[in-house]
């Protein structure tokens, strides 16, 4: 197996607060690596550094073997990074198929063409239809993103990310706010993702994490306090104390 993401010694400080404290982790191709931790552990800060929205103070980030620590977000996407947002971030005025088509077009290139007709780009349209085919979004194709349900919006984000054919997916709480049935569907979708890309999954829903993850790392106060297989993490006393510990506090 080869690593699609290698993070080493990553540090991010906000004033006196060390939000990311020498984090070292990797994601192999074809694995789902889950990142768990209590609220305020610095998960989102870490994700935003990996995606390129926040610059780290120290350490390196390697994507498919290339140092991207100082690359802007869009350049990392070009190299093979796809992401979803904790709070869905979509093009609310576009329909589902327009949104996916725009993602396909962004990936296909030719985005500076001034004199073509975007709606007539056949390869873009074909690929858009293929991406939507068989998903729960297919019957919603003509609906505006703003009018979708919460679960559908989460799915649309995922489809748009997949349109970029990413080698690494950063998923920031894909289960958040989903109902029971929707969660079950999302777990199935994510399981299918493993074949296409390495996944770094930040998630609070422990059932989903235990169902999906090949490896789990636990982040507490910006530090990785434990890392290992599902079984190891389940049994780790430190993790139980810090995180799984009490009866609840999973979110």
């Amino acid at each position: 197996m080869s690593a699609v993401l290698e993070v080493s010694g990553l540090v991010k400080r906000f004033g006196g607060l060390v939000a990311t404290d020498h984090v070292t982790l990797d994601v192999q191709a074809g694995e789902i690596h889950a990142l768990i931790g209590p609220n305020g552990a610095g998960k989102s800060t870490l994700i935003n550094q990996l995606s390129g929205e926040i610059a780290p103070d120290a350490g390196t980030i390697r994507l498919l073997g290339r140092d991207v620590t100082h690359e802007p977000a869009h350049a990392r996407v070009r190299l093979g990074l796809g992401r979803t947002f904790q709070v869905t971030s979509l093009l609310d005025e576009c329909t589902v198929s327009e949104s996916v088509a725009l993602a396909v077009q962004a990936h296909a290139g030719g985005n500076l063409k001034l004199w073509d007709r975007a709606a007539n780009r056949t390869p873009v349209r074909t690929r858009t239809e293929a991406l939507l085919a068989g998903t729960a979004l297919e019957p919603r194709a003509a609906m505006r993103a703003a009018d979708l349900s919460h679960g559908e919006r989460k799915q649309l984000e995922l489809v748009m990310a997949l349109a970029l054919e990413p080698k690494l997916m950063l998923l920031d709480e894909p289960m958040a706010g989903l109902g029971h049935v929707e969660s079950g569907e999302m777990i199935e979708v994510l399981r299918g993702l493993r074949a296409r890309a390495g996944v770094l999954l930040v998630e609070h829903d422990m059932d989903a994490v235990f169902a999906l993850a090949d490896r789990i790392s636990v982040l507490v106060y910006g530090q990785i306090v434990a890392s290992g297989s599902v079984e190891e993490i389940r049994e780790n006393p430190e993790v139980r104390a810090a995180y799984l510990g009490g009866e609840d506090e999973l979110c």
């Binding site: 869009h74 725009l102 985005n111 001034l114 748009m160």
Partner: protein
């Protein structure tokens, strides 16, 4: 309504307008219509950045003035037979001055945009305003080109042997350019680039996450927008045979913005309607009272508050 039919009808009316005006004994209508078309081009160009790209520029009058000054300065040097810096000869050929005005405005837009687009929101509005005011004061202090008195042109530029001093001729030239411009703009907003720009306006962070270098795309759109306004400025210089720093005063930027908002932000023809409405209103109210801007303000207020989407939205709702 059947849009193509409506547009064809409007074009027929515009084509016979000078004849109608002569028949009705109101020759002032033709230069007014010319100004409306020119402002329509300028407002629609601003709208490409503002409405389609979400870049609220308060400094687009700068490009209007630049376009105008390119024409007037080249004319002056040609007329005085004194090359610029003793090197570049002036010219009165519209086929040279118009493209040159577009290119020079584009260069200014590139410089201003490259710096301004590093900011966003209110800062962007203020920085574009500041750049435009800098250029305004630069031209006020340029005594060689008339300073605050501006620069008059003895004649309009020469174009294919047409007499552009003849008002209907100038009007028809402007009309042809306007039609070509809007056809091109329509094509542009539906292109791959136009689609990406629309995405950036809606959610820049999302487009960045799709791998789009949003800064570069916004800058490109800003330059295209500045070039369109520059072309309008060059036409205005020919229509009025006069340019002055007033063309780039901040209130002119505001006027262009009002035309966009009044007509319909982010629509193809809205800014043209906005330009027509504003200039007709001005002319009409000015015939009544010298305090016409009060009436204008009230009408604006009413349209913005009750139309939701400008005049074009009102028209669509009625038909």
């Amino acid at each position: 309504m059947r849009q193509p039919v409506a547009i064809l009808l409007a074009l027929v009316v515009l084509a016979v307008l000078p004849t109608l005006a002569a028949w009705a004994g109101s020759p002032a209508t033709v230069p007014l219509a010319t100004r409306i078309l020119i402002y329509g081009i300028a407002a629609a160009s601003l709208n490409f950045a503002l409405g389609y790209g979400g870049m609220i520029s308060f400094g687009h009058a700068a490009f209007f003035g630049i376009g105008g000054y390119v024409v007037a300065i080249l004319f002056t040097h040609w007329f005085n037979e004194a090359p610029i810096f003793g090197l570049i000869p002036g010219t009165n050929q519209l086929l040279i001055t118009l493209p040159l005005a577009i290119v020079v405005s584009g260069l200014f837009a590139a410089a201003i945009g490259a710096l301004s687009l590093r900011t966003g929101g209110v800062q962007f509005i203020m920085i574009t305003l500041a750049f435009a005011q800098m250029l305004f004061f630069l031209f006020v202090s340029l005594k060689a080109y008339g300073g605050e008195d501006g620069l008059s042109m003895r004649r309009p530029d020469a174009f294919l042997g047409l007499n552009l001093r003849d008002r209907p001729t100038m009007y028809y030239l402007t009309l042809v350019i306007t039609v070509l411009f809007f056809a091109g703009l329509r094509r542009l907003v539906r292109s791959s680039f136009g689609t990406v720009l629309d995405g950036i306006r809606q959610n820049e962070r999302r487009m960045e996450a799709l791998g789009i270098a949003t800064y570069r795309h916004k800058l490109f759109a800003f330059i295209l927008s500045g070039m369109g306004v520059g072309m309008a400025g060059a036409l205005m210089a020919n229509a009025m045979r006069y340019v002055s720093p007033d063309m780039m005063h901040w209130s002119r930027s505001g006027e262009l913005m009002i035309m966009v908002i009044l007509g319909g932000t982010g629509t193809l023809l809205g800014p043209l309607y906005g330009a027509a409405a504003l200039l007709l209103l001005e002319t009409w109210l000015a015939g009544w009272t010298e305090h016409w801007s009060l009436g204008e303000g009230l009408v604006l207020l009413a349209v913005v508050m009750f139309s939701r989407g400008g005049l074009i939205a009102l028209l669509r709702r009625r038909t």
